[in-house]
């Protein structure tokens, strides 16, 4: 694992965006070589999306040859519902960038056959050549996507019933009425994310601090599903100071000491082969 500790949310967002930009540009995507990117929703990645939009506007980055797969979507919410993840991705990202809509994949929570929808999603990922980089966040209960505590660590894309905690946490987006929050969602599995060639998790704020501690300082445990990435060959964790509040001083000092190396990962001059070193 690489742990990159930045000062605050803004710095974390910029770091994450620059990493994605460099990964895509170093990959040199083209008409026969698409960069396949996994994407999250929620508050944490908003700053990163904003920064990526700036890069596109400054012509430093193009999504023309990028294929995206989002992590999840609510079941039963109309496609254009303002709290659905289609709306989120459109309003916060897709409407501002030059991605081809045919290359955008988001699970359809209104599909007539939800299981078939999930299976086809897995197949689409495979057909695209697998995911090169999956960007994600972490829930306060340590979950990745909607893989709630207790999710199989080798799970695939499927229907999940949301935990009470998740529903309460999301009520603020539904008029503070827990009854309006969807009760289930389609989500990529832990195994699905593990299959990608790299995983980058963004973590910000004290509310996520304990989850970060359980994800990287304790054992692999299906109650804290992000911990599964301890077994991933390329697990990159980008957090801010507040999110380190529950980590050991030793851990924080060690990774801060590596910043000279890690900062090469976002420098234009940083060599792409760095990806292969040190994990």
């Amino acid at each position: 694992m690489r742990l990159v500790i930045t000062k605050d949310y803004s710095e974390m967002s910029e770091w994450g965006a620059r990493y994605i930009k460099k990964r895509i540009n170093d990959f040199k995507p083209g008409p026969n070589r698409y960069f396949v990117l996994g994407l999250p929703t929620g508050n944490t990645p908003l700053g990163t999306y904003r920064k990526l939009i700036e890069f596109v506007n400054a012509k430093q980055l193009s999504f023309k040859y990028v294929i995206t797969f989002n992590m999840d979507e609510y079941v039963g919410l109309p496609r254009d519902h303002p709290e659905g993840y289609h709306s989120f991705m459109w309003n916060n990202f897709f409407k501002y960038i030059d991605i081809d809509p045919k290359n955008v994949h988001i699970l359809n929570g209104n599909a007539p056959d939800l299981i078939k929808e999930c299976d086809e999603y897995e197949r689409a990922i495979k057909d695209a050549g697998g995911i090169e980089l999956f960007v994600g966040g972490i829930g306060p209960d340590g979950h990745i996507a909607f893989n709630e505590p207790g999710s199989s660590l080798i799970s695939r894309t499927r229907v999940k019933t949301l935990a009470q905690d998740t529903i309460s946490a999301n009520a603020r987006f539904f008029n503070n009425d827990v009854n309006q929050v969807p009760k289930s969602a389609l989500t990529v599995g832990v195994g699905t994310v593990m299959d990608s060639r790299e995983v980058m998790i963004l973590i910000s704020g004290t509310a996520k601090a304990y989850a970060l501690h359980m994800a990287i300082e304790e054992g692999v445990n299906h109650m804290w599903t992000v911990s599964a990435f301890q077994n991933h060959q390329r697990f990159l964790c980008v957090c801010d100071e507040d999110a380190t509040m529950e980590l050991k001083v030793k851990t924080v000092r060690y990774f801060k000491g590596l910043m000279a190396v890690h900062s090469q990962l976002i420098e234009d001059s940083g060599h792409p082969s760095l990806l292969q070193t040190e994990n």
Binding site: K59, S62, K64, R79, D80, H86, S87, W90, N91, F94, K95, D100, P101, K102, V104, I106
Partner: protein
């Protein structure tokens, strides 16, 4: 069908100015999110609008003529004058209007009414013609303004008198009447609305507030040029002006009122008064005379001669104002200025002042010439708005609200100079 994407626009949407793109297809404004997820296609042609303000095209509910043409004159070749005015009005940012006919003889109505047909607007044919506004002749002689006395009429037989006067309501959208004329409230107004589907406006009237309220309750929803040709506001009988604050109207009814904000017909303090009291009802109208768009001189309107001098138009030989020669674009600018003037002494902080201007005054002045007139005609989902599904009639404005370019059904109908020519805004693709 080609999809056009106007990028970098400051759009007027949802009562605010926001930076966003405007997507057009088939002459309509479309929702890009639906295109993205449902059709999975991108825009075919993109334009860079460089941050310019984009508003819905202006709608004029009362215009008696322009560019030398008089809608009330039976003598000219009438279908052509309509199109000529429709085309030239685009230079004022007007994308839809109601040709207005003042009190005339029965013979004149027989000739004119069948000739002014509704017409869908286009870049080639100019602004949309939304129907005729017949102003008169069932008006109160004491408040006739510039209308000729010998043409005024009463309705002792109710609706029959209107039918024998006008012949047919086929091409008509709005009728202005004085509600105190016997049988108007009990008989005429309800029939005009329910049987003929018209919008009834009250004006050129000596009506008390009580009569005004009864006229509204019987279906009238518009007041023709508020303050002009009606009793002035009096604190014991507010007259028609009092309709703006009447407590005896059902809450579901929104009354709209025309206001001529040419800097002459209505004092800016009166504009602010009406606006503060009932902002959502304010509709800017030009009530323009044929001289609109022409230099100073003497012109014909109805059966009269009018004199145009230094932004005033009067009946030859009198001081009676007979309509304005300010374009609707100028009226919007004047209204915004009137609202700004009302703030100058209030706020010391320039930032608060600028914010109010940007977020409130510009929006409300434009709405008074777009969504409000559209609401009077019940077409606010199609016209006077930049909402998804609406007709793509829009204008580009600079920060002083001068019109830079006018688009009708998504095509450029007029531009002030080459800089805003659509081809010059076209983003050539890179890569």
């Amino acid at each position: 069908m080609t999809i056009y994407r106007f990028r970098n626009c400051t759009l007027m949407r949802n009562h605010a100015l926001i930076i966003d793109d405007l997507w057009i297809r088939h002459g309509k404004i479309i929702d890009p999110e639906k295109i993205f997820f449902d059709e999975k296609i991108q825009a075919d042609i993109e334009y860079d609008c460089q941050g310019v303000l984009i508003a819905p095209g202006y709608i004029d509910l009362q215009i008696n003529g322009a560019f030398g043409h008089d809608f009330s004159s039976p003598n000219e070749v009438n279908e052509n004058i309509l199109i000529d005015v429709a085309r030239k009005l685009t230079s004022h940012g007007v994308t839809a209007f109601l040709p207005t006919i003042v009190s005339s003889s029965i013979d004149t109505y027989k000739i004119l009414l069948p000739k002014y047909k509704r017409q869908v607007g286009s870049a080639k044919d100019g602004a949309t013609i939304l129907g005729i506004h017949i102003e008169g002749p069932f008006l109160n002689e004491d408040k006739r303004g510039a209308h000729r006395t010998d043409f005024l009429r009463e309705s002792p037989h109710g609706i029959e008198d209107l039918l024998s006067c006008y012949g047919s309501f086929d091409n008509v959208s709005i009728v202005t009447i004085a509600p105190e004329i016997p049988n108007m409230i009990e008989n005429v107004i309800p029939i005009l609305i329910e049987k003929y589907g018209l919008i009834v406006s009250i004006g050129h009237s000596m009506a008390s507030l009580d009569i005004g309220e009864r006229a509204i309750c019987s279906g009238a929803r518009f007041i023709t040029h508020l303050f002009n040709a009606m009793l002035p506001f009096h604190h014991r009988d507010p007259g028609l002006v009092g309709l703006l604050t009447s407590h005896r109207l059902p809450a579901t009814i929104v009354i709209h009122y025309g206001l001529i904000v040419d800097g002459i017909h209505t004092h800016s303090a009166a504009v602010r008064l009406a606006h503060r009291v009932h902002p959502q009802g304010l509709v800017l109208v030009t009530d323009a005379v044929p001289a609109l768009g022409l230099p100073d001189g003497i012109y014909r309107m109805g059966a009269d001669e009018i004199v145009v001098e230094k932004k005033r138009a009067t009946i030859a030989g009198t001081q009676t104002l007979c309509g304005s020669i300010a374009s609707l674009a100028e009226c919007v600018q004047n209204m915004r200025q009137a609202l700004l003037d009302g703030e100058i002494n209030k706020s010391n902080e320039k930032k608060i002042f600028d914010d109010k201007d940007k977020n409130k005054f510009i929006v409300e002045s434009i709405e008074a010439a777009t969504v409000h007139p559209a609401s009077v005609l019940h077409i606010e989902n199609q016209k006077g708005t930049l909402s998804f599904g609406a007709d793509a009639d829009f204008i580009l404005l600079d920060d002083k609200l001068n019109v830079l370019s006018t688009f009708i059904a998504g095509e450029q109908a007029w531009t002030v100079n080459d800089k805003w020519l659509i081809n010059n805004l076209h983003i050539k693709s890179y890569q």
